[in-house]
Symmetry: C2
Subunit: 277 residues, 2 copies
Amino acid sequence: MSTDHRPIGVFDSGIGGLSVLKHLVRLLPHERFVYLGDTARVPYGNKSPETVRLYSAQCAAFLLTHDVKMIVVACNTASALALDTLRTSASIPVIGVIEPAAREAVRRTRNKHIGVIGTRATIASDSYNRSIELASQGNTYFVHSRPCPLFVPLVEEGWLDTPSTRVIAEEYLKPLIANKIDTLVLGCTHYPLLEPVLQSLLAGVELIDCGACAAEDARIALGAEQHQGVSPTPEISLYVTDHTPAFTMLASQFLGMPVEEPVRVSLDTLASTQANR
Amino acid sequence: MSTDHRPIGVFDSGIGGLSVLKHLVRLLPHERFVYLGDTARVPYGNKSPETVRLYSAQCAAFLLTHDVKMIVVACNTASALALDTLRTSASIPVIGVIEPAAREAVRRTRNKHIGVIGTRATIASDSYNRSIELASQGNTYFVHSRPCPLFVPLVEEGWLDTPSTRVIAEEYLKPLIANKIDTLVLGCTHYPLLEPVLQSLLAGVELIDCGACAAEDARIALGAEQHQGVSPTPEISLYVTDHTPAFTMLASQFLGMPVEEPVRVSLDTLASTQANR
């Protein structure tokens, strides 16, 4: 157990990051967590890189006012576009979801054909390609990417396994199947909720949950032992920039446990927090 | 032709309002237009009423700095949640998309069963029910509403008539068809692009395009004659809060004509414009 009792900060554009927090809580049950979901500006996946960087910097600045010892960027789009900037400006470890998932994909693939699905912004950023290349140690891997912008609204509609979800998933996965991927990175924190449908369409393909990989990286960075035994009730402070219907409806499903009512922090507060740093 | 040469202001959460602007340009070809799409915070349909009101007030304040003579709220969610507030604070006419479409639906229905589809926020606001009741002149109309949150991402994905679009549309329209609607209000400015699919699933049902109705209201409010003859090239100043991929991809499709590169206005500018009023 860490002797540094400061909390771990986690942020996302909205609700999706709770699927990352789920794994953090599981691997680090004795830690405290501060989670910020920028629900007033969700999603990030359809915004420009410049705007995603601005919003991410504001989220990180807010977490730093809570004296966090580490920031986990629990959003693929923000990890793809803002991680370098955040690392430069913060004096604490900043962990994204892309590098850990890319390393895991390289470890797990057997035929070296890795699929990556994500938001339009994540895929356009080419971050998974770069991270897989960095992890490749000189070997050649074939990365087959596909933006799947309908998956987030499908999950938020609660249509996790309907006929339309299947039709859409088949359409999106068609080129990846044609390229004979044996490993698929779920490059968006909403996608683990679609795992049953995706797995049923991708027999024998390994699905990589970026949240699980990032949580393992966080555990190693904190030097924490692998947890054994019964976990205590996790201590989570939840903040959102807007009380949106989706958060209330889906938060406990993403986190895998009941969720308390989040505290709203205004965008003005967020902007001034960053300006004062 | 109006002797007031000031432009008409139009705003939306993003790109959808261009389908309203299309009708404004058609009915009022000699007017100038200033359009603001709040693409840095799009969509509004999944945000809270409080947040939609704040964003709408900022958009309206920005348009007022362009000395507009009228504001058209080219967004159903903003019309549903912010129109009263905007009307109270502005000294010029403010036209929303809901009242005109509700009046048109009442005029057109024969069996008094009106369907309304829109975003989650629009439907939850009950605005169409209230506006139809106001237009009913004591008659009883049956309003059958259904939020269709997947339609906007489907349109933005460019899947206007794919098998999955049909499956999703069938699912959404099922209860409306069961209720024997003979008129359907397309209560979101993205939906007119789905008209062919919707019409094919709703034989004999009249579809109401809220943008066309709002444009007609604007024409009447300005005392403009019905336009005859060849239209000049419209004079449109386009502003966005973020240069997003969707805007570039889809703007001309929504407007029905080529679109110039929009000018970006920062959220800071937007917020300070409102604060200074």
